[in-house]
């Protein structure tokens, strides 16, 4: 035995000393990207897929990586709005070249919109919601000349709404010549583009090996200036502890999607900085107003006073979520910072007494049986009890609880909602608008799922959707949310964050609330 142990030790000893440094011109990121199903930007609707689109493709509209929020021209140099807001005419920047060497023209833009609308894959609705379909798209989205693209909607929408949607991944501009040459059986080149790229963005795709590596190489001729890093390499690291070891050793420069305990362990390491970036998921509890007690406004108010928001965010969830009490996430147009509710048992008891339930009541809550929902639910259960409300938790598989929720068979549902694109309309449409509360209504937004129909807020949501003036639009959302937070059957609690750790020499990695707003082009290492 001794002999073998010695032999094994000798074998290990000869394997040398760890270099543990990433190459200077290469950024190595430890992440989890098993969510990529396709690299085709007109098809992918997952986090990493959308993030990929922002590195490899240009869109008409983009964001300043250093100040994510206000939009600015990407491939579009400027635009004019006409016909009462129905038509936006874009001037395409001169001299943009695809990675293939083909010039980017208005024809490519028109082709890309036509492709996204005609294929109409999962994210297609972001464009088709403006009244485009496969029959009218050639007319509504067309090139007037090589540098001019005309986009027409079925009615006048808020210009910011349209432009925000044109910054989404599904609005990426593909190299029409290259894609057409890889078309098979009228598939718009989809089969090919699933695993290849045809973009003009700051990075070129080098390799994608599912659940292994995703690597980029910089596009030296990028019109917005070449990125600082020559290569960016994402390594798939599904295991949290492994990810932490890798950043401690310096084998990765950035470790993403960490959990709170890993971050805690990394704090105090002089070579590493950690931070939390607000993302766009909203965690909330929906109260079914079909329930005889939950339907009462005072009860809804009382329950909002029976949640210890900050304690859950800071202690139970350890910074993985931040308190957020309204439906437009921070970082979006129209977001407000008001937090009118905090744990106030006396106030809650008084409201319950006014509603005719001085001794409280018993109610159930459907909860997905994974982190952090069970943890949030248990914390809420404890504070509800202080006000006399007995909460029975029904844990279940995510799909099962969601099915029950969509059928309006719940009392209280604890869950989350993610924005589909970087515009407040995505969430407003879900939380605040319900025009048909019938059981067989065609649209089933979150307001409908809780059987809540508020015509004033539905009207404000519609008005904000078509308000051409950005400042007025913002004001409308702010007013709507102040009404919403007081009078809705939603206890909006948190907005999620991404926890990440970076080596000290990594600078300027910018990521905003959505996957589309993750930019590697500004990252530097020294």
């Amino acid at each position: 035995m001794k002999r073998y142990a010695l032999a094994l030790a000798a074998l290990l000893a000869t394997t040398g000393v760890a270099s543990a440094q990433t190459p200077r011109d290469t950024l190595v990121v430890g992440a989890k990207f098993d969510d990529i199903l396709s690299l085709d930007p007109h098809e992918s609707f997952e986090f990493t897929g959308s993030e990929f689109g922002s590195q490899v493709y240009d869109k008409l509209i983009t964001f300043d990586p250093a100040n994510i929020g206000p939009i600015r021209g990407g491939a579009a140099e400027s635009w004019t709005v006409s016909d009462g807001g129905k038509v936006i005419t874009f001037k395409i920047r001169q001299g943009i070249k695809f990675h293939s060497g083909n010039p980017l023209t208005a024809e490519d833009v028109a082709y890309s919109v036509q492709r996204a609308v005609t294929m109409n894959k999962a994210p297609g609705f972001i464009i088709t919601q403006f009244g485009l379909n496969k029959d009218n798209v050639k007319e509504r989205a067309r090139a007037l000349d090589a540098q001019t693209f005309r986009f027409e909607t079925d009615k006048a929408y808020a210009t910011t709404f349209v432009l925000n949607c044109l910054s989404a991944n599904v609005s990426a501009i593909v190299d029409s010549k290259l894609v057409k040459s890889n078309e098979k059986d009228g598939d718009w080149g989809n089969t090919w583009l699933k695993t290849n790229a045809a973009g003009s963005g700051p990075f070129k795709l080098v390799t994608w090996r599912a659940n292994e590596t995703l690597s980029y190489e910089r596009n030296d001729g990028y019109w917005g200036g070449a990125p600082k890093m020559r290569r960016v390499l994402l390594r798939h690291m599904p295991e949290q502890a492994t990810k932490r070891l890798a950043i401690e050793k310096g084998d990765v420069d950035i470790a993403r999607d960490l959990q709170a305990d890993q971050v805690k362990a990394l704090q105090g390491n002089p070579n590493i900085t950690t931070r939390a970036v607000l993302k766009s998921y909203i965690a909330y509890a929906g109260l079914n107003t079909k329930h005889p007690i939950l339907g009462k406004p005072q009860v809804q108010q009382a329950l909002k006073y029976l949640v210890d928001y900050d304690q859950i965010a800071n202690t139970v969830l350890a910074g993985a979520y931040a308190t957020q009490q309204n439906y437009i996430p921070q970082g979006f147009l129209g977001a407000i910072k008001d937090q009118p509710f905090k744990l106030d048992v006396a106030r809650a008891k008084q409201l319950l007494a006014e509603a005719g339930h001085p001794n409280g009541f018993t109610v159930t809550m459907d909860v997905t049986n994974t982190w952090p929902w069970t943890e949030i639910a248990q914390a809420v259960q404890a504070t509800f009890a202080q006000g006399g409300v007995k909460l029975e938790l029904i844990p279940g598989d995510f799909r099962a609880t969601l099915t029950k929720y969509r059928a309006r068979n719940h009392d209280i549902y604890l869950g989350r909602w993610g924005s589909d694109f970087l515009d407040p309309h995505s969430n407003a449409d879900a939380f605040a608008k319900n025009i048909n509360n019938a059981d067989d209504a065609p649209a089933k937004p979150l307001a409908w799922r809780n059987a809540w129909k508020n015509d004033e807020l539905s009207g404000m949501t519609n008005a904000a959707m078509i308000e051409g003036d950005a400042a007025k639009r913002q004001k409308l959302y702010e007013d709507a949310q102040r009404k919403f937070v007081q009078g809705s059957p939603f206890i909006v609690m948190f907005q999620n964050t991404e926890l990440l750790a970076e080596r000290k020499n990594v600078k300027n990695f910018n990521l905003g609330p959505l996957s589309e707003t993750t930019f590697f082009k500004t990252v530097e290492k020294n």
């Binding site: 035995m1 073998y4 094994l8 074998l11 290990l12 000893a13 394997t15 040398g16 000393v17 760890a18 270099s19 543990a20 990433t22 190459p23 290469t26 190595v28 098993d34 199903l37 396709s38 690299l39 609707f45 997952e46 109409n120 894959k121 999962a122 297609g124 609705f125 699933k194 695993t195 080098v206 390799t207 090996r209 599912a210 659940n211 292994e212 590596t213 690597s215 390499l233 390594r235 798939h236 690291m237 599904p238 295991e239 502890a241 492994t242 070891l245 890798a246 401690e248 050793k249 084998d251 799909r399 589909d420």
Partner: protein, 334 residues
């Protein structure tokens, strides 16, 4: 002889057909919607219907199964939802990574486990027997991911003797031409010793961890087979004859345990080739185990079915191989 071959081929075909049927039925029974796996949760109803028809899910089950069999026979397992590539290409990519790891691990298991097991049996109740039993017990009871993480913590994070997770360091990625998909061999074929060294530093820890578990199992089985033989009368007779202990153990007793031992080793190799999910996750090793689990979690039935057929084929192949080895080792079966 030809009749025997036909019989074997027939039973293999039947086994594979049964395997396909069971997997297919399970794939259709699980309460996971394969359409949602493709389009995500927020897609419009029209998209849903269209995708369902594209996937052929509107057809009756027997039609779906028939199509599946025809395709499987021609090596077409469809396109993976997970990677958007043909499943066959995926398997060609992930399986060599697993073969490389499993082979090294089994080598460790055999080269250490068999001698240790024999020694433990020969020196029954001595200190070396106790050591062997403790080694086997730990290997049997401690979770593999824990050993893996501890190994990383000590040999990678603290001592820096081995590389981190993955098969190669960043600097060496794509440095050698892919031929067999087994990086160690590809590096040697390219004559790139630096890359070989890097790949070796990455494989040595996961292979040792898996090798330890295989060692523990092989050692335990060798020991008990050997103990059984050593208590038999022919061993006593051989000893009375005055044969050397080495001769008694290796020429008489060991020969008799060779056949069951081959089965044990083949089975343990088979389990490793199936892909060690936990080890592959801890070491971010892009092998078959990871691929199968990810496919399952994604309800990517093409990937799962393709992988299952491969695993089934491995076991059938290993069974054939050990059958052949029996004939070599045991004159009575010739």
């Amino acid at each position: 002889m030809p009749r025997k071959i036909a019989e074997t081929a027939g039973s293999i075909a039947l086994t594979i057909l049964g395997l396909l049927l069971v997997t297919f039925v399970i794939g259709r029974v699980v309460p996971i919607d394969p359409v949602l796996a493709v389009i995500g949760e927020n897609a419009a109803p029209g998209v849903y219907e269209r995708t369902r028809i594209e996937l052929g899910l509107d057809q009756p089950l027997y039609v779906q199964f028939g199509r599946f069999i025809v395709k499987a026979v021609t090596g077409d397992f469809g396109v993976s939802v997970l990677t958007a590539r043909p499943v066959l290409d995926d398997l060609k990519r992930v399986f060599p990574a697993t073969i490389e790891l499993a082979t090294l691990a089994t080598l460790i298991g055999v080269l250490v486990g068999v001698p240790l097991g024999i020694l433990a049996a020969v020196r029954h109740q001595s200190w070396i027997d106790h050591v062997a039993r403790i080694v086997a017990l730990i290997g049997h009871s401690v979770p593999v991911f824990w050993i893996g993480l501890m190994g990383l913590l000590i040999f990678y994070a603290q001592l820096g003797w081995v590389g981190g997770t993955g098969r190669q360091s960043v600097a060496f990625l794509d440095s050698v031409r892919e031929r067999t998909g087994m990086i160690l061999i590809d590096c040697l074929l390219d004559g790139d010793l630096d890359s070989f060294w890097d790949a070796w530093r990455h494989i040595v820890l996961p292979a040792s961890v898996l090798g330890y578990f295989s060692l523990a199992y092989i050692c335990r089985m060798t020991r008990s087979f050997m103990l059984e033989q050593l208590s038999k009368e022919y061993v006593t007779a051989a000893r009375i004859k005055g044969l050397s202990e080495w001769h008694v153990v290796m020429r008489h007793a060991f020969r008799n345990i060779a056949v069951p031992l081959v089965t044990v080793i083949a089975l343990s190799y088979g389990y490793l080739l199936e892909g060690a999910v936990l080890t592959e996750t801890v070491f971010a090793w892009p092998g078959l185990g990871n691929y199968l689990t990810d496919s399952l979690l994604r309800s990517d039935m093409n990937g799962v079915l393709g992988g299952t057929i491969l695993v089934g084929a491995i076991f059938i192949g290993l069974n054939l191989l050990s059958d052949l080895l029996y004939k070599l080792l045991d004159p009575r079966t010739r």
